[in-house]
Structure formats: C-alpha cells, structure tokens
Symmetry: C2
Subunit: 291 residues, 2 copies
Amino acid sequence: MTQAPQAPGALRATSRATIGDSEFDRDTRVERREAGHYAADLPAGWAIGDALNGGYLLAVVGRALGDALAHPDPFTVTAHYLTATRPGPALVRTDAAPPGRTLSAGSATLVQREPDGTETERLRVLATYGDLAALPGDVRTSAEPPVLPPFEQCPGAKDHPGGPEAGPPIAGRLDLRLDPATAGWALGAPSGRGEIRAWFALADGRDLDPLALLLAVDALPPTAFELGLSGWVPTVELTAHVRCHPAPGPVRVAITTRNLAGGFLEEDAEVWDSAGRLCAQSRQLARVLTR
Amino acid sequence: MTQAPQAPGALRATSRATIGDSEFDRDTRVERREAGHYAADLPAGWAIGDALNGGYLLAVVGRALGDALAHPDPFTVTAHYLTATRPGPALVRTDAAPPGRTLSAGSATLVQREPDGTETERLRVLATYGDLAALPGDVRTSAEPPVLPPFEQCPGAKDHPGGPEAGPPIAGRLDLRLDPATAGWALGAPSGRGEIRAWFALADGRDLDPLALLLAVDALPPTAFELGLSGWVPTVELTAHVRCHPAPGPVRVAITTRNLAGGFLEEDAEVWDSAGRLCAQSRQLARVLTR
C-alpha cells in the first residue's frame, strides 16, 4: 500500500471513538432477554428514506448472533429483506445449530410490532461464525485493490451540492468519500458503467471490525445510479463474507454490477483495508424500481 | 452465440429424458408429509466420496421450498453445510415467511436420523422465490460468457485417465466437459490460475431448469485443484442467484477464485445458457483442507 490516509477522526477531533465505545456500538446494541432472544432499539440515524439501511440491520442481527453462537466473528452472513424496517424497538430471535469445533451456524429473524400489536418479520438471516484471529496468516490472492484518489481528495457528505445536511440521516454516521470518477451520477452525468468506488470510515473515527464490515458492504450509493437509473433499489438478499480483521483506518470499497436483467441486478462489493488485504466480499440481489 | 452444440442426449440416445421424467427429477423427489415437511430418499449416485454433492442437496431442498412457498422459482438460495449428508432417507422441514406479491421467502433444514434414532442437521437453507416467467425481458449486461472449445471437443468422464468409471458416482449422472485449458490439474499440471471452465449437461439429456442450475453451480471440480492444491474443499456456504429460465441444451459454467486466505477461499460460478444469457451466478465460501 502506497496510500496512507489519515484516519478521518484525526482530521477533526482529538478524541476518536473506539471499538466498544462509539455511535455504531451504541446503535447496534442488543440486550439479551431469554435464551437466544435479544431486544434492540433502532435509532432513526441509520435510515435512508423511511427504512433503516440493510447493512446496519445486518450488523444488529450480527451482534445478536455473535452472542448466541459459540464463535465470535461472522465468516459468512446472508440476509433476506422481507419488509422495510422502521426506527424503533425490534426483537431478534436466534436459533443456533449445534456448534462445530471451528465454525458455528445459526439463523435469526428480526421482527417489529405493528401499532395493533401484531408482529411483522423484517429480515431473516443465516450465518456461519468462526474465529478470524485463529486463522493462519497465509494469503494467496489474484485480486487487486481498487485504485482511487487519496481519502482527502475524494468528496464526502460535506461536499453535497445541497449542503452537508442534504443527504439521508445515515450520511451523518459515516465518513464516505466517493471517487470523483464514479460520482458522475450525483451531478446528473452517470458514467453508464456499473461501478462505484469509495473510502469508507465511521464519522466518529471508530476503527472497523467485522461487524462494521457488514455495514460497509451496503453503505455506498447503488451502482444503479451510475448506470443512469434513478429510484429505489431495494435489496432482496445480501451475502457477506468476512475474510480477516480489518487493519485500522478507512477501507476502500468497490461495488460493481455486471448483469441487470428482468428488473433485477447483482451488486458485488469488495472491501480492502489499509494493509492492502481483501477483508470482505459481498454480493446482493436487488430489484430496480425505476421512477 | 456462434457455438451451437448438439444436446448430449442426441449423441447417444434416441429418447432423451425430459423435465419431470428424468433421473434428476426422480432423485430430487420430495414427498409432502405434513404442512411444510417433506420426506426424501437420497440415492448414492450423487455422492463424491462418502458425502452427497452440495448442489444436488440444494436442488432437493429447493424442490421442497418450491412446493412450500407461494412462488415457483428460486431467485436467491443460500445453503450452510453443517455436516456431511449420506445417501438414504432425509427429512426437509420448511418455514415460509408471509408471501409478498411477487416474492416469497422461506427457510428450510435437511436432517437425517442416526442409527441411534437421534436427528442430525445436515444443511440449513434460506431462500427467496419468485416467478422467472413473469419478469420483463430487458437485459443490460456487461458480463461476457466464458470462451471454451465446442462441447464435442472437451473431454468428459469417458476420457478419464482411469477409465469411464473411475470418477465419483456423480460423474455418471452428469455430462461435464472440461475446457482442456483449465484441466491441467487432472494430468498433474495445474495452471496455478483459479479458474475452471466446462460445459454442463445432465447425462440423460434432460434439459436444465432453475433447480438443475442449483446443481450446475456446484458440479465442477474445485478451483483449488487448478491452484495446485489437493485434498478436500468442503463448502461452508453457497449462495446461488437464478436470473432466467435456461434455454435448452448444455450450459457453459466458469468458476473462479481470486482470494485464498487463512485457509478459506471464495469460488464464484457463472452459468451461461445456449442463448448467451447469464442464467445463474453463485458464490461459495469453502475451506481448504490440504492433504
């Protein structure tokens, strides 16, 4: 790695948040009720429009599974998004399979109560957890990290044409810096290519961990924008693989779409850490609801 | 598409099996017992070593979900493989979420009884189904199909150095033709590149449907072989997206691995039909257990 960006918190605050004591940790907190059941209260700060972000929700459910399962880290997590999750109370119910020696699998569902008291299922999750720290250090990869300008030279929420507060609520929780070469859509000139690249960090400077990587894979604007489509691109399903603990500092995220057909598209994400390692991969199937 | 292979059944049989009346249909049959529960009897013909193939098992569970859910076709299916499935009786239990207008999600688990009567969970599945025939016909893709020699020029099981019966039992169910350029591992000369390409068809000439695509994405030898690794590469998790009904005839399958790290690798598959459409994509996380 030749790029060595300053951590974003260092640019504007003397006290950076830390893993365990940060906005992300507080907002993804789950409280154990009975065996395998967890209560959460989901703040509106992670919304885009009326619905909470899918990657944020995956981190909430991922935290509950990390408590319920015998191993600490998400290795592979799949979420199917059934209905839009609203800010407010939610319940996560987990169902662990008998653990293996090095891996544990489990399912989870996140539900919310309607005003009339009935329960609505928001997402279902299936995951296998392990211990990233216990893996051998071998790396043999032909993958190349995305190339983008240094962190400080990429525009962020403060550069939004409508002002720093013009983005959705979640924009204030993140320090997302888009590669200008893939941000044409924001100025009405999409490239037509299905790729967006960005630096990703948390706004309070908290370093990333495996749970925050579940957020990172679903935090960029949809590739559909750069394909010239507007409107909502709801995720049907998202699967993320976490491959290593990310090194400190912002990560580089590249999302790509190759096949838009029949009103659906896949969106692949790669997350590269400051040490030049591919620390997460994801793919989602999304629906294109054009305006 | 300029390549127009003959269907494999046409090469050696006057009566080709058909969708609904074929070995694959009989061997993935499930019998409804009570609401959402299905009995299956899994033949040894789909084994590799002692364990049944993961893609075959996904098709069995996929057939049960197709009956249990309100929509017919798998759009996105994830399986987590917990323990090795043996030939013999099995039970599939499904759990459907309330259906949406165009999509239905559901979970399933496949279990087998041990000789002492206890139940062991083999795989857990989470899926969203829809109706492929109801999708609009638009295609806007930057993906390119893999290039490989014509079907008839690629070696199959009959060309196995040890004779036509030397492969695992599943080899007799498939008509898999490997691109010689990616089959060096079979002759002790792996390319070192993480890619294998092949034509895929069913041995009895039955055309492919969405369930058979779930088999196709996990039917090739592992990319690890072409990376020069030997031994077992068990799948931890596999997610497949089915994007369209495949056109008749063999499909082209390309599998690639970019990142082998910490003893795990991802293996991506693409399946292209004879009409030149990308009809399925998959990614699996697998473990490398080197000899």
